[in-house]
């Protein structure tokens, strides 16, 4: 298969990640187009047999940074984290013993999308790559150009921040 066809076959997966790395649908759209335009021009720098999906995502995250997204980063305050059980406790409190799958379904798509966008970029990038895009820690480390230990600690903290944001949105909905 030609390089271009192989890259195009991965576009759904690339889009899935881009959609939540970028701040809007339009931006994700532009970013994916720019990524593919650049990938097609510079296909010679791809080493056949290595991970093409990670290579495309590396281009995409670099473009995202070049676009100045980093200038709008969240303030340097430490984001608030909750304990790992916090969200369940909040949801189950209201549900009085419903089973776990049911409890999860109390979260709407809006709750999740807005909670995710409230997570600061550094943490969100890792969650989007690993938990939504299914990239390994190793790939995420390469894509973001950070050590693997940093991927793990950001993922761990990022999920806690996300759960806190989710708990807050649920509490707001209830009030």
């Amino acid at each position: 298969m030609r390089f271009e066809e192989e890259a195009l076959a991965l576009s759904d997966q690339v889009y899935r990640v881009a959609r939540h790395l970028a701040s809007s649908r339009d931006e994700a759209d532009d970013l994916v187009q720019e990524t593919y335009a650049r990938a097609f021009r510079s296909w010679r720098s791809f080493t056949p047999g290595t991970n093409l999906r990670a290579w495309l995502l590396r281009i995409l995250t670099n473009l995202n940074i070049d676009r100045g997204r980093r200038t709008q980063r969240a303030p340097q305050t430490t984001p608030l984290e909750a304990n790992d059980y916090y969200l369940y406790d909040k949801l189950a409190e209201a549900d009085g013993g419903a089973d776990e799958e049911r409890v999860v379904e109390r979260l709407s798509q809006d709750d999740i999308v807005s909670a995710l966008s409230a997570v600061p970029h550094d943490f969100r990038d890792v969650i989007v790559l690993v938990d939504i895009g299914d990239f390994s820690y190793q790939d995420a480390a390469q894509i973001l150009d950070i050590p693997i230990g940093t991927v793990m600690s950001r993922l761990h903290r990022g999920r806690r921040i996300l759960k806190r944001e989710l708990a807050e949105s649920v509490l707001e909905d209830a009030s």
Partner: protein, 80 residues
């Protein structure tokens, strides 16, 4: 590993993410499972976390707009 005895559920909470990520050591994994076997309270919370991860992944995954797919295909550089 730990300096002082700890509330077993608090410790189990700490192990939840690495447990579900399969990055605990064998010894830690056995320890977590031993606690989960006898603690319904923690077990529910682990199950919730698993469901949450699957749910988040499903719910935020939007299909790529077909117009975008066509635009990408049009970016291919023609072979001469």
């Amino acid at each position: 590993m730990r300096d002082a005895p700890q509330d077993p559920c608090a410790h189990c909470e700490e192990m939840m993410q690495p447990y579900l990520d399969h990055i605990l050591t064998e010894e830690e994994r056995v320890e977590a499972e031993h606690h989960l076997d006898e603690c319904d309270w923690c077990r529910r919370r682990y199950r919730f976390e698993e469901s949450l991860r699957t749910y988040v992944r499903q719910i935020v995954s939007e299909p790529m707009p077909s117009a975008l797919k066509q635009k990408l295909a049009a970016l291919r550089i023609p072979l001469n």
